[in-house]
């Protein structure tokens, strides 16, 4: 497989029509244009095995996504690597995740990124059709963007930052 032109990818995941599920995309929007050329910032509403298309040829990837906490009030933005992502347990195309994508890419020698980090933002309502996020979720955008920026900067040579 040929390498993508940019080895570092920042990918906002979400659905802009489903209220808080847009948060990953909104964070990615805030990161546009602030990194050097070796970093590409994108957004997608796709998931499952379609993530494979985004990851092939990348060296490092930051995924920005939402999560549903047990209790929204007091919940924290979380950072993860793939250690916490379980083994492949594919059930349907609608619920294939990073575990499956990672295993497929490794098994088929498709060049899974050396490092994948996940920035997960707690949300309250990702299932109501709306283009407006819950105010409390929208209020976390600056913090999330700052944390994402720190992660990417840790990957860059000092001179590039």
């Amino acid at each position: 497989m040929s390498s993508a032109t940019t080895p570092i990818l920042v990918l906002g995941l979400g659905n802009e029509l489903l209220k808080d599920d847009a948060v990953g995309i909104r964070v990615a929007e805030r990161l546009q244009g602030i990194f050097p050329p070796e970093v590409e910032v994108r957004s997608t509403s796709l998931f499952g095995l379609a993530l494979l298309d985004e990851l092939i040829g990348r060296d490092k990837v930051l995924l920005i996504d939402s999560y549903i906490p047990e209790e929204f009030i007091g919940s924290e933005i979380q950072e993860h690597n793939l250690d916490g992502v379980g083994e492949a347990q594919s059930t349907s195309p609608h619920f294939v995740g990073l575990g499956e994508v990672r295993e497929v890419m490794r098994k088929l020698d498709l060049g899974f990124p050396r490092e994948v980090r996940i920035l997960a933002i707690p949300v309250s309502d990702p299932i109501t059709f709306s283009t407006e996020m819950t105010p409390a979720v929208a209020a976390r955008l600056p913090e999330a963007a700052t944390r994402a920026r720190r992660i990417v900067q840790s990957w860059l040579p000092v001179a590039a930052t």
């Binding site: 998931f47 499952g48 993860h80 609608h94």
Partner: protein, 487 residues
């Protein structure tokens, strides 16, 4: 006596799929409920928006099968504006749609239907996943699927700008014609697609049909429901994903009726239950008799197996041969085994590839005339397509300026909702009692019940681990929680 429990789907779901199982005084299952979070507020969201945005809006409902919504919306706009696309546009649309179906079905069979179908339902947990499938079919086959998928998506990108959320369908046609210089690429890709689909059938024959234990699992009573079946067919009652009329057959396989997209409200009604946001469509003429199957129940099924059951055959040669082989093997029509959906999917793969090949080679498909401009005043638009997972209806009503005043969608999973509920309930009754052991086995067998339908629930609520979070609660007759299994 079983205590009546009121379940509030809002407060309890928390983004998880949830199964509530109630036991009676004897410790046996009195009822099992399958609940998932439902996308809310769609009809309110679209009111006031231009109907022409619907192919873009609705394609964002689902991150796995957006093309189905895009096509249904496009056809609904044709109807809304009373405009008939030129022949080249219809052929491009149908070809685009068959490319999508071929890719989706291939992905499902090799990577996702595998745990139940290729690896086998009783395989160890560590093998019941994509890796287990790749282990069975071989890594070279896995690479071939990925390569073919990429090629098909490139073709869709050529036609629609991008494979997902394409800018393709317009009222009265499509956004751009196919250049004659591109036609050979499509023809070659279609040829490879047919070869691969036939190869898939041979893989299936080797791995599944020769495995007696697996055939027994397919035909087991636990995964059998004798319902009505519905699917889109052409004028000769052959399966068609893009256009035609809907045909319904009864549990004995006899034609029960047929209707067009415009008539769907006369044919289908929706039943409401207090424990679920999802409504349960049923056949009006038969009526709602509860979550039961049989000829006296209006519960029906959609998706690959239902499409094959509702049709008299496939419109292309090799697909029709595969269709006949399926029924000859499983004892004739109709087939009621839910797990046979995975086999039916392969038959449809062959049809999608062959139809793709027919259209790609059609001289008319490179005609530059691909749009008829609408001139009529919009009012009502209805359409139907066959999404990979089943029948999909779109219905819009607008004011004279084309702004939406009302919209209704019935998606494939909704069409199957009653049968899915039946499946979960039946498996739970067969497997669960007060002393059921082995959480993993229980979860797997219950999941198989709805996995064959590949339900699309809350597509935007993907989770980090990817797998659908599931919580199974088992309660006694008084409603007290006996055990909870989470994944």
């Amino acid at each position: 006596m079983t205590q009546k429990i009121t379940i509030d789907p809002i407060t309890r779901l928390e983004g998880h799929g949830k199964i509530e199982i109630f036991l009676d005084d004897a410790g046996k299952v009195s009822r099992a409920y399958f609940q998932v979070p439902e996308l809310r507020g769609f009809e309110q969201f679209v009111v006031g928006r231009p109907a022409e945005e619907m192919p873009q809006i609705t394609s964002r409902i689902c991150g796995v099968c957006p093309t189905a919504h895009h096509m249904a919306a496009t056809k609904a706009l044709d109807d809304l504006y009373q405009v008939d696309p030129p022949p080249a546009a219809k052929k491009l649309r149908e070809m685009f749609y068959n490319i999508f179906t071929l890719e989706d079905h291939a992905l499902h069979f090799y990577f996702l239907g595998g745990p139940d179908f290729v690896v086998g339902p009783k395989a160890p947990k560590a093998e019941r996943n994509i890796l287990g499938v790749l282990g069975k079919v071989g890594l070279e086959v896995g690479k071939r699927v990925i390569g073919m998928r990429r090629e098909l998506r490139d073709l869709m990108s050529y036609l629609g700008g991008k494979p997902i959320h394409p800018v393709f369908g317009l009222p009265g046609g499509v956004a751009k014609p196919m250049a004659p210089t591109e036609q050979p690429r499509f023809i070659e890709a279609a040829k490879k697609g047919v070869e691969f689909a036939l190869f898939t059938l041979s893989v299936f024959g080797e791995i599944v049909l020769k495995n007696k234990a697996y055939v027994e699992a397919i035909t087991s009573e636990m995964y059998t429901h004798r319902t009505y079946y519905m699917g889109l067919v052409d004028e000769k009652n052959r399966v068609n994903f893009y256009d035609g009329h809907l045909r319904v057959v009864d549990p004995q396989g006899k034609e029960f009726g047929s209707f067009t997209a415009h008539e769907y409200l006369e044919a289908i009604a929706e039943h409401v239950e207090p424990w679920s946001y999802i409504k349960f469509p049923y056949l009006k003429k038969v009526g709602w008799k509860g979550f039961v199957d049989g000829a006296d129940s209006g519960v029906y099924s959609v998706a690959p197996l239902a499409r094959l059951n509702a049709a008299d055959g496939m419109a292309t040669r090799r697909a029709n041969e595969a269709y006949e082989q399926l029924y000859a093997t499983l004892g004739g029509k109709p087939v009621h085994y839910t797990l046979a959906n995975h086999w039916a999917r392969i038959v449809e793969m062959i049809y999608a590839a062959e139809r793709f090949a027919e259209l790609a080679a059609d001289p008319e498909i490179v005609d530059p005339k691909v749009r008829t401009l609408p001139t009529a005043t919009p009012k009502v638009g209805m359409s139907v397509v066959e999404a990979p997972r089943g029948t999909l209806f779109h219905h819009y009503e607008t004011d004279e300026a084309g702004l939406i005043t009302k919209a209704n969608l019935i998606v494939a999973t909704q069409n199957n909702a009653a049968r899915i509920a039946l499946s979960v309930d039946k498996v739970a009754r067969a497997l669960i009692n007060a002393s059921t052991a082995n959480d993993d086995g229980l979860l797997n067998m219950v999941e198989m019940a709805f996995r064959a339908y590949d339900p699309c629930h809350g597509c935007g609520t993907h989770s980090l681990p990817g797998s659908m979070a599931l919580k199974v609660s088992i309660r006694d007759a008084a409603g007290n929680l006996l055990r909870e299994i989470r994944r």
